[in-house]
Symmetry: C2
Subunit: 726 residues, 2 copies
């Protein structure tokens, strides 16, 4: 069949999603902002967020230009273009999300105030969230569409195109055509890393600063306007939980789609088990069209909630329903696509791509991915919700003091790694069994095919949270705060599942990229292997396994350092500016915003640079076998740390919430036990919101940048040179 059908399909899907996002954007923006005080606060938050993102993007654009120049010189200008395109798409999506979130928050607060209806408020908040969700899906696919169009990946003669475009770089090494795809993924990943790390530092420094002095020392409530760090805290929610999270999931989405396409190309190039040119074409197109259909499914799923004339008061059920509609439609559309593309034809030798169960194989792999994502999410829910034993045990340990609160949270986090890893391992083994290594990549893509729905819910949460903050600071009725708090809490379960998808897909995508890397590093005649009995690979794996620890240590440090400055500033204001604690003088919010912003901009570079440069630099010194080891070591260790930090942080957070809703006898607000719980929560904050999500990005950036650089360092590295002399 002609590729035109697919091009049109993707274009339609992207246009509909973008149109719907635009419609929702303006529907939200035209709502009333509420009282003078509310408008002032919202403006302060919006300005803080805008200033930060502007400064961030300014410093990023320089970095991006430098990287693009290096890529042009050493690899190819085509790749540099797709790299820039990726960065622009990711940056735009995050920016749109930040815009809508900072418009939507105050409007949600106002709707709650005027309508006093949970259902009405839910609708506005979710409409705001959907703008981010739709942007993530649409911009990601728009960029991929452009890359595919520019570089001939829709071409009927794709195989010929691939080989024709394989060119030598200025050092005379052949640069595989697939780097254009890797370039796009790298652009998205780099922006995601900066947004995630920068946002994570920003939000957690503000949050910790506000809590440590405000809640623990001055004993004032969360979001109390007397707290100088409170505006920064609310800006942080937007910067970290909206822009950071959006860029993160966009990166995962793009990573999963392109990992599948790249693997298809590598399977074609590998002479060990070559696939036919027509099969290659279909395997390249499949993940993109699957994702486009998923985007359409999400538009329908989102509409199903928004057009409903009367929502029930069970917000939880409404959100889940919308997500499950999106997910089911994605899989149903995907099944049709799979049948259409891979139905039996003489020129498609499905066995050559290891599709062991015929045309349905890749679809089954996608289903395994979705199932694994849900299972990992439910397990996260089990370990971190106060409805279950693990978090309850953390809550109970608060009665024995802070130290045991910390150790029991650590223990929950550590124990929580095994079950999701077993799920992930089963998904890998299952999808590999039905559709080979391509199946593993498709499993990641399947997990993320309805990413739009996931991001919408994930964004809705911080919007509701911010609305709560604005209500508190504007001294609105307690009733309003109850509505926003309920909405905030409701998003949590769905968000937990979204987290399962994020980490599961990161692991699968990173592993697929790693296999692509091995293909690229191995001469075409040989069978790929990653043999850890070879000392150089073993040594690489050891150092690789230490890398996520080093990276996490740096991140925690970055947050702590900025938080310490914040703590001192808040203490200073309480002491030096008279009347602040009594609520008579307005504190200096601006200074706190500056501290968070400066800290984030300063500290985000080191971790981001490590993730890109480490595999590349060591590749030039120790060669491709070493980097292969680094990749597997880092992936293994990052998965464990991400699960550990995420779940330990979640358990502490909810143990505190459990105590605050009065779940634990003998630990009312302000008691020793409550204090211990707050400290646990504060310790967990940087772990679950900065470290955990950044680790997902780390392993993907590392594998993408190795994949790009390997075409050079497999020919030219110090160790091979020395060994040849010895």
């Amino acid at each position: 069949m002609s590729s035109l059908v697919f091009i049109i399909l993707i274009s339609i899907s992207v246009s509909i999603a973008l149109g719907y996002a635009l419609y929702n954007f303006y529907s939200v923006k035209k709502l009333d902002e509420g009282s003078q005080r509310m408008q002032e606060i919202a403006l302060a938050i919006r300005q803080g967020a805008n200033t930060f993102i502007r400064n961030e993007y300014r410093s990023l654009s320089l970095i991006m230009l430098i990287v693009a120049s290096i890529l042009t010189v050493f690899i190819s200008w085509q790749m540099a273009i797709s790299f820039i395109l990726g960065a622009v798409m990711s940056g735009t999506a995050a920016w749109v999300g930040l815009k809508i979130a900072t418009y939507c928050n105050v409007r949600v607060s106002n709707v709650a105030r005027t309508s006093k209806s949970l259902a009405e408020t839910l609708k506005v908040a979710y409409r705001g969230g959907s703008v981010m969700g739709l942007s993530v899906g649409a911009f990601a696919l728009l960029g991929i569409l452009l890359v595919y169009l520019c570089f001939g990946l829709f071409d009927g003669q794709i195989a010929a195109v691939m080989e024709g475009r394989e060119r030598l770089n200025f050092l005379g090494f052949p640069i595989p055509f697939t780097v254009t795809l890797s370039g796009y993924a790298l652009g998205c990943s780099l922006i995601a890393m900066f947004n995630r790390v920068g946002g994570g530092i920003y939000t957690k420094a503000a949050d910790m600063g506000a809590d440590l002095v405000g809640k623990t020392e001055a004993k004032i409530a969360e979001d109390d306007p007397r707290n100088p760090a409170t505006i920064a805290d609310n800006v942080g929610d937007n910067v970290g939980d909206v822009a950071g999270l959006g860029a993160d999931l966009l990166e995962s989405y793009v990573g999963a789609i392109l990992a599948s396409a790249i693997l298809a190309c590598e399977l074609y190039r590998s002479h060990a088990s070559p696939i036919s040119a027509e099969l290659l074409r279909r395997m390249i197109i499949y993940p993109v069209v699957f994702a486009a259909l998923g985007l359409l499914a999400c538009v329908l799923g989102t509409m199903s909630l928004l057009v409903k004339p009367k929502l029930s008061t069970k917000a939880h059920r409404e959100l889940n329903l919308s997500t499950w509609i999106s997910a089911s439609l994605s899989l149903i559309f995907g099944l049709g696509l799979t049948a259409w593309l891979f139905k039996s034809r003489p020129d498609l030798d499905l066995k050559s791509a290891q599709f062991r169960l015929g045309f349905i194989s890749p679809w089954l792999a996608a289903c395994f991915g979705v199932m694994a994502g849900i299972a990992i999410g439910l397990l996260a829910e089990y370990y971190t919700s106060y409805s279950y034993k693990p978090t309850l045990s953390v809550a109970e340990s608060t009665l024995e003091g802070t130290a045991l609160t910390i150790t029991s949270g650590m223990s929950v986090g550590m124990r929580s790694t095994m079950a999701p890893v077993i799920v992930l391992a089963s998904a890998i083994y299952g999808s590999y069994s039905v559709a080979g290594i391509y199946g593993v990549a498709i499993a990641a893509m399947g997990m993320l095919s309805f990413v739009t729905a996931t991001v919408s819910v994930d964004t809705y949460g911080p919007i509701a949270d911010n609305a709560g903050g604005i209500s508190e600071m504007s001294s609105l009725d307690a009733e309003v705060r109850i509505i926003t708090d309920t909405l905030d809490a409701v998003g949590n379960t769905t968000a937990a599942i979204g987290k399962g998808f994020a980490i599961g897909s990161a692991a699968l995508a990173a592993l697929s990229m790693m296999v692509s890397y091995l293909y690229a590093a191995t001469p075409a005649a040989e069978v790929i292997s990653l043999n850890l009995v070879q000392p150089i690979s073993l040594v690489g794996a050891m150092i690789g396994a230490a890398l996520p620890f080093l990276f996490s240590g740096f991140l925690i440090d970055a947050v702590s350092k900025t938080a310490r400055t914040m703590v001192n500033e808040v203490r200073r204001q309480f002491k030096e500016i008279s009347g602040v604690l009594e609520g008579q003088t307005q504190p200096d919010y601006k200074r706190c915003i500056e501290i968070s912003s400066d800290g984030a901009l300063r500290e985000m570079r080191k971790p981001a640079l490590i993730s890109v440069l480490f595999p590349v630099c060591t590749g030039f010194i120790f060669g491709p076998k070493f980097v292969g080891g680094v990749l597997i070591g880092a992936t293994l260790s990052a998965i464990m740390l991400a699960l550990y930090t995420g779940n330990a942080g979640g358990a502490w957070d909810n143990a505190k919430k459990y105590i605050e809703i009065g779940g634990l006898a003998g630990s009312e607000r302000g008691s020793e036990a409550h204090n211990a719980a707050i400290i646990g929560d504060t310790v967990g904050d940087p772990l679950k919101d900065t470290v955990g999500p950044s680790l997902d990005i780390l392993i993907k950036i590392m594998s993408v940048s190795s994949l790009i650089a390997v075409s050079i360092f497999s020919h030219y590295n110090l160790l091979d040179y020395l060994l040849s002399k010895w």
Copy 2:
């Protein structure tokens, strides 16, 4: 040359060491115990320790008998015998250590009281410690000597013996002769695991219980006799830090020696690069004789301190001097041995064993091991001593409250993993380059060749610590306490280096065992590989990497659970028994001892069973490739976690000490900052003293038990069966 020379050499060395240990034991025992009160307290501690070890050994002997029966049925009775022998040797060494420590502590306290001389007190404490050190070295080698003698490993016709003894088990699978060696190692490892885990739970539960209520809530000093948990705490020091540590290092020592011998056998059996029968004989004998010479060197090193008529007051320098004499003599003796055994001869084709630099190759590997051990120890010192930036930063963060104290300690721990891993990786690459995979095992052996000196210093620490406790509880002069505290602190640097050896050698020995496992799992005609591109191995590696996290979570939980019971008991006694806090009534020490003891006995089983059963059971289900993945995943992850937990715990501990010596302005004893530091220390306690050391044992037990079981499950496992049907 005849093997008789070596048999005599080992026997002499073992006899001298045992004789010297006996002499030191009675020299200590005949000293005066001091006042009535001191004798009472010492008796209570001694009885507590004896009761615990008796109960532990009773429940262990049953487990050992069950394991031995299973081994007899499924593998061979020879192996069961060496297994029992290993357990008996390890158990005896730990028991001797516990005896001397509980005799020595009060005598150290009394010498300090009567002589008021630091040098005199040091001598007694070190003499006590040396009994443990010498027992560890001597009993370990005695057992190996017996195993070698019984099973013909000294035989001139060793190769023929090996093949003649290879027999079929009752299922008809050939059982390699090397399992007799693995059996001995498994016996030592299992005892070590129980002693380490049991002792770790005992000591940390008592310690946390005593600190949490005593120091934090009741604000009384450490070792205050009014604290009901104080005797249990002092018993715990003996059970955990003496018996647990001794069994742990004995296991490492045996593991490293036997890993080298087993690898030599596997190299011989592997048809890929077969070594000659004579070379095999020498490679089997080499590590044992090297260790025996090391033991002699340590006798001389220990004597050099003890016979000196007048010690300087710089205790630190005296201890280091003695250790360095032992280490240097070990290496010098070893060099002679290496030249003697591997000097050029026509029937020794050194190249076949990958000795790339001729006869000196294995000695160089041993030197790399020693250098790596020292470097790792110094790095641990850097990250955990308050003379350097990392720990100082933790100390400073106490000023910003508990939460930042915890996060900064975590960050130090995480960042501290990279440097030692690089050192370890270099040692692996270096020793592999000079002497092949045998070199990696020899590097571990080299590190531990002077283990006796290390254990002596490591045991001397808790003896001095206990002496301090007894002084405090008997209300001796403050001067006495200053002497014991100084001695306790002095041991720390040397102990840090000992820790570096423990973790470094564990990693190297586990990797060598893993390679032996791969040899055993691979048909003789094929080249061994551990290819993580194979999904079954990859999946194994993922699950393996999660295992140390699960294991650590269980351990932390076990400690926390027991500590919680202890906290409640101490609180109860303060409340219910009138006059305890005023010092008028004696608290119920016995009840606290029972809580620790019961908790330790109850909780130590699960982690120990996991470590033995997990690789064996999954082997029977998923086959040898899966277990290969599990071993590498677990080893990588355990190394990182061991470094992380050890260094984070050490940093918190010393940050607290720094504050207590008044190093930090604005944080005197009893301040908020000091409180935060105590909480940090309490959180770190189970991490550094229970989790970290147990992880070292975990990876060795896992690889030994896989190595033993693989001869069966490589022929018979569920997955292969199912795949053959599919």
